[in-house]
Subunit: 138 residues, 2 copies
Amino acid sequence: MTDRDEVLKQNAAFYDAFRRLDLDAMADVWSQTEADVCIHPGWPILRGWAEVEQSWRGIFEGAGYMRVETNEVQVVVTGDVAHVTCMEGVYCVHEGMTVQGSIAATNLFHRHGDSWKLVLHHGSPIGATAAGVPPDDN
Amino acid sequence: MTDRDEVLKQNAAFYDAFRRLDLDAMADVWSQTEADVCIHPGWPILRGWAEVEQSWRGIFEGAGYMRVETNEVQVVVTGDVAHVTCMEGVYCVHEGMTVQGSIAATNLFHRHGDSWKLVLHHGSPIGATAAGVPPDDN
């Protein structure tokens, strides 16, 4: 498997953990170090695994249903660093409210031994949120 | 000068070009390749230097006055790649309207010969709730 394929696999694992609301799987994707950075849409910058983990815990606990689809996925590998940019289509039921929208994401991975670990996730809201129809399942 | 200092200098050059509305100086910071990616707050993903340059041209032409301050600047250098995360305080007069706000930014640099070039800028508005979930109340 090429570095590029490994990174894409790890990027997919991130979104699998996200849509399954699986904190253990999410933790496994991250480097779990002080260097971890996460910027959720509309949130301030979270630094260090403790803060990042706490944010995912809160999101997962509040979400009753989560669907996340990705497209326009592009990966660039440069030595022991890789960055992925993509669009996320998110449809979620959070504390009884339906939230839906498009998010532009940057995911940065560092090579740790035999695997690639997420060290930065940055998601930002794109345009206006559409009401009504959830994105198609693919 | 250490790699870290060089990256911080180039990051500062990016914001200098931004606040001076100087397209030539902005161009000089970027790698100016097909790999360039720029995500302005609320915009879709722009890919390739041609699209990225056009976006800055439009922003600079529409802006009568621009103030950009940075804080919480953190840099991580890993071989020939460096990423900077920071908060931007932006105050601008754009086509007669005043726009002001806080932006969380990720800036990714690649080493090109003797210099560091920007290959990705991702800025997202902070405080606006978005697709995704609201900030933690804890």
